[in-house]
Amino acid sequence: MGKHTPLYDAHRAAGARLVDFAGWEMPLHYGSQIDEHHAVRRRAGMFDVSHMAVVDILGTGARAWLRRLLANDVAKADAPGKAVYSCMLNPSGGVKDDLIVYHLGADHYRTVVNAATTAKDLAWMREQVGHGAVAIHHRDDLAIIAVQGPQARAIAGSVLPTGLAQAAAQLKAFQATADDDLLVGRTGYTGEDGYECILAGAAAQSLWQKLGDGGVIPCGLGARDTLRLEAGLNLYGQDMHEDSHPFESGLAWTVAWKPAEREFIGRQALSALREDHDRVLVGVLLEAKGIMRAGQTLHHPGAEGSGLLTSAGYAPTLERSIGLARVPRVWKNAGPRVDVDIRGQGRAARLVDYPFVRHGESRIAT
């Protein structure tokens, strides 16, 4: 039996189909993951993502310490309330995890890391503690509820405490506001507008209930995955891992080279790879009917080498199969037409830019 979040009873009461995810018993869906996907794109859905870990970094050395730890520069979060998305690299330039860092106060930063990598990340961070005056505090007393969709912020605003709701309404993307009990960030993993709320585990059920009463429907990990894939958002462990670097994972934009004097773990290895990497991550759209799956290979009629789907599946908003694939860099100039090996048969597909869906609308010519 896996670990339970504070919302476990609510999931069971709602008829969730529960599955193991990184040692947690989580809702895959509550009946239909396709219906849940559409609810997020059209109205509002909520996700219990309390299995992800909140790790606070405290102390006068926090900023400097994080500037060394992370490939993106937390100095960009130059005022309380700002947040940054970053990779955490190993010394070879491979990706240990991707995470969000919130600047909460002078000596207080908050990171949110993946569930599958929590133990690894904490061990790594503790190993790096000697490099600064910091305390690392794993906040396993906190829960996280993501509310996403075109109506998400309006409904959430109607159930949050007034002062917080007003402050949240003013947030720009990737900004957060907090009172003593609740952090609200205008962030998400679906490609839709919305909030991610971090709060005491003991308060989670009440917020979940109020959001539900306000018309937000519960959504599980199944919908979470189809939504993020359409939005072109990476999933750690699939689209990148310790043996892949940011340039071949669609994450070059998350690496902050300036200022040149900022030493960060992996910088040296990455500098060598910056011009000299031979693979890139691209979007793939299956032309025919059928479904692509992660792990299937691609070939190009006009270029050498092979590609590999890192994430793939059915996209409910597009009603097509899409994927992300790591392919030879030269393919980008060889024409978009490729073949995907689906259970022994080559099927026609084409390389496309991603995100595939934005603001609820398809961005590709289907």
Binding site: Q33, I34, I291, R293, Y314
Partner: protein, 130 residues
Amino acid sequence: MGEIPGELKFAKSHEWVDMGEGGTAVIGISDYAQAALGDLVFVELPEVGDALVAGDNVAVVESVKAASDIYAPLSGEVVEVNTQLADAPELVNEDCYGEGWLFKLAVSDEAGLDDLLDADAYEQLIAEED
């Protein structure tokens, strides 16, 4: 989960068979199977005219999660396929014993029915699987 229709026969791999009077069987997958698969997004059916041998892998149903093989519960020739499923694979989830049927077979070997489970035996099988 609803009632298992009493007149059907079942394979251990969760296909159901509705054996008709004229030697034609309608074949689909059970409610237990469709619930386990989740939302179906693609169904690949055999072609009309295909000769099937009981136990052959003859069709594929794809859900958001995974592809699942469908096995012929009986031997025979495919006489009709459910063309509605091309545009509406979710019919299998919504009405697996009715509108969500997969294909029809002119059965060449009715004795094969004896190797299948009746509704009670199938109900026991899935109770054990849970």
